[in-house]
Amino acid sequence: MTGAISVTRVNSSISKADGMPDFGTEIAQLRRYVEQQLLNQFQKHGYQLIEVPIVEQTDLYLRKSGEDIVTQMYDFVHQNRRLCLRPEMTASVIRAYIEHFPTLEPQKLCYAGAVFRYDLHLSYRQFTQVGVELIGMKSAIADAEVIYTACLSLDQLGIANYQVVMGHMGVLLQFLRNLDLSDRLISLLLASMNLLDQPNGKALLIEQLRENYPLAPSAGALADLFHGMDRTTARNSILKLLESLRIELNGNRDPQEIADRLINKLKQKDQTHKITRAVEFMADLSQLRGAPHTTLKQAEQLLADYGIDAQPLAELWSITDLLTQFGIREICLDLGLHRDLQYYTGMIFEIEHAPVGRLGGGGRYDDLIQTLGGNQSTPATGFSLQLEAICQTLTNSQTHTQQKLPVGLAEVAIALNYSANPVQAFLLARELDKIGCSYLLTMGDEPQRGARWQITAQPDGLFRIIASPTQLEKILDLPTLTKHIRNSL
């Protein structure tokens, strides 16, 4: 028996990392085309292209993105610095905006890029967001503009039958804050919003919260002891009590903070009532889905019943009005709509396409710029479309595939077969570039759809040119051929 241990190499080939996509040539070409079309459309609307890095500091997302995103990040320590792959584009774009426009003047920015989310339920953990941010305008027209831009860019790609679903974060947030619930509880409630879609959802949600969250106070009689005391007296009593019990408060925390939290815990009343109220309101809210006019009327009634400020509804009225004027008819209001990012403060929307699902979405985020270090409150709104979903929609619709694919080839004037004489072919290609004539270099003689001429670079240095659709054939040398093409265009 020897002591040497040889390592058996189990894997000889390397496969791609789990959840990371390869895109075959056809899809890759479609993706590039769609991305370019979208960006062109955004740029025509005055949005300027910006590129931001894939790797960001994790802190960028910890500040405001919320638990749903943060728990899905590719988060790692490199050279002692905590970094991550960006899980979405907006925070990066806003960080770049603050760095490059420190005076925070209004800007219209657009972008396209890969984002990464580690979610075991997603078949792909890398996907591409193409979108815009409209910074510095707090008006219904700005919100309507971004929705309109999103719709227009889908129309341009030939995508129909989508629906704009619009909601408003302000309604629910305001209600929950009025109830004076802790941030933790608000976060848990928002995260369980989707439970309410199930039958018996209300009971399920309350049950779940009761299991995981201590709704009832634990201290009972002790609470009465501190009830009449002001905070300073209570705090001093607690600190004295702990001192007399020889419990030292020296574990990296301010003794006052410990005492204050303890008093809060002791004073906490049974929260079951508040939770029930919150869940009932959330359930009522999530019922409000449908045509804008009716839904807004119902919402006004609900908010009046609960005594909540109807300002968010006024905003939705204005946005809906504007969208109708822009000619967008497929609008659905959903007051229970909730997005997985927590920085939204106002209108939120998603674009749904029946077979594929969500094509994209966005909304207003008026606090993010200040949270990320901007020196004053700056309103902003925006959206992103998901490239993969859009390409899926396009490949699903056969008509589109035939009309617009293969990408770019429809505009090809010349199919240039270069296999027999690459040098001559490349010289011709250089001439064609000079006169701005589009061409496609091919390896074979098979006719290219839409090409006006089929040209073959022959071994003897001459070119065989067949015109379409006459099939007239000529043999020409390079200068004559160039001249011929220039004159014909």
Binding site: I5, T8, V70, T71, S187, L249, G251, N252, I258, K265
Partner: protein, 338 residues
């Protein structure tokens, strides 16, 4: 050394070495190690096996990379090191020793923090102050995933330097996430586990490399032999075999005494009592009754035997209890086919 030697890595030094060797000896696979400094050894009962001593923490990696076929290590290590490529299979999940729990613990002085919800609220309070909770741990993956599942995100994981339990008092972390079996070390360092903060219950387990077991029928066969012995031996710990002499007139009469009521089912053996005639010098009718019963039913079974006139009662612990099929062996085949 033949190419088809089955290599098994087992913990060397540390708390798991002795109980692992004891377990193997108990199941009939005593390890022969010529001297303590050698890190390879053999099992005379299974000459096709080669034992390799490794640090418990490295055994997962050895199995994953394929330098050994099987390994015995803590389930906590397996979960923490898991590469999520299904290369490493848990072949036998609970070997019955090395039990511990992965817990979150805070300084005793944090009197306001008792539950995981308290901790969650503290992280949100600190987030407002741009402060982040620092948790020192060797179990970064498990800790992160567990906290994420509880929607707690405002924390950072700190590398352990030396004695981890001292980190909060030394000030380079606020709290710890670590394994504990009795809680003594935590208490000695003025730390308390958080209610609802137990992230994993662990014990020692047997793991294997999927590809290697799949590729070699010989290795798979040896693995199945080992599983048979482990499973039957651990199963045997649950049972006691009792034999008593009972007087009666016929086999059937004695049989009735053990089967007449449903309450007797657990006292009458796995299927029912085995009864045999005892040939005595004096012409009297004695029968030997043997029942195999769950260990915790020993005294109840003795009481029943006495009640029906039993005497000369002997009880043995079986070395093995083999069922009709080996469950873990069947499970392994199913996992390999997945």
């Amino acid at each position: 050394m033949s190419a088809e030697h089955l290599r098994i890595a087992i913990p060397s030094k540390g708390a798991l070495e002795k109980p692992t060797l004891d377990l193997l000896a108990t199941v009939g696979l005593k390890v022969y190690r010529p001297n303590d400094r050698q890190y390879v050894a053999s099992i005379p009962a299974l000459p096709e096996v080669e034992i390799i001593f490794q640090r418990a923490a490295d055994i997962y990696t050895k199995v994953h990379e394929g330098s050994v076929d099987l390994g015995i290590t803590g389930y906590d290590v397996v979960c923490e090191e898991d590469k999520e490529d299904h290369q490493v299979l848990v072949v036998y999940p609970k070997l019955g020793y090395g039990k511990c729990s992965l817990v979150l613990a805070v300084p005793d002085s944090w009197v306001d923090i008792t539950s995981i919800e308290d901790l969650a609220e503290l992280t949100l309070l600190w987030k407002e102050q741009n402060r982040i909770l620092r948790i020192v741990t060797k179990y970064k993956k498990l800790t992160r995933n567990w906290l994420f599942n509880h929607r707690i995100v405002n924390f950072t994981l700190v590398d352990a330097k030396g004695a981890m339990e001292a980190a909060p008092s030394m000030g380079y972390a606020d709290m710890i996430a670590d394994v504990t079996s009795t809680g003594t070390t935590l208490r000695e360092n003025h730390l308390k586990p958080i209610v609802g903060g137990t992230m994993l219950h662990s014990q020692t387990c047997l793991i294997g490399n999927r590809q290697l077991l799949k590729a070699s029928p010989e290795k798979l066969k040896t693995t199945q032999t080992i599983l048979e012995l482990i499973e039957a031996s651990l199963e045997a710990k649950k049972y006691t075999s009792i034999t008593a002499n009972v007087r009666g007139t016929s086999l059937d009469e004695i049989g009735m005494k053990f089967t007449h009521s449903p309450e007797l089912r657990e006292l009458a053996g796995l299927r029912g009592p085995t009864i045999a005639k005892v040939y005595t010098a004096a012409p009297m009718d004695w029968y030997a009754v043997t029942v195999v019963i769950p260990e915790d039913k020993l005294l109840a079974a003795i009481a029943h035997l006495r009640a029906v006139g039993g005497t000369d009662i002997t009880a043995f612990s079986p070395s093995y209890v083999f069922q009709a099929t080996c469950k873990s062996s069947t499970a392994l085949i199913a996992m390999l086919e997945e």
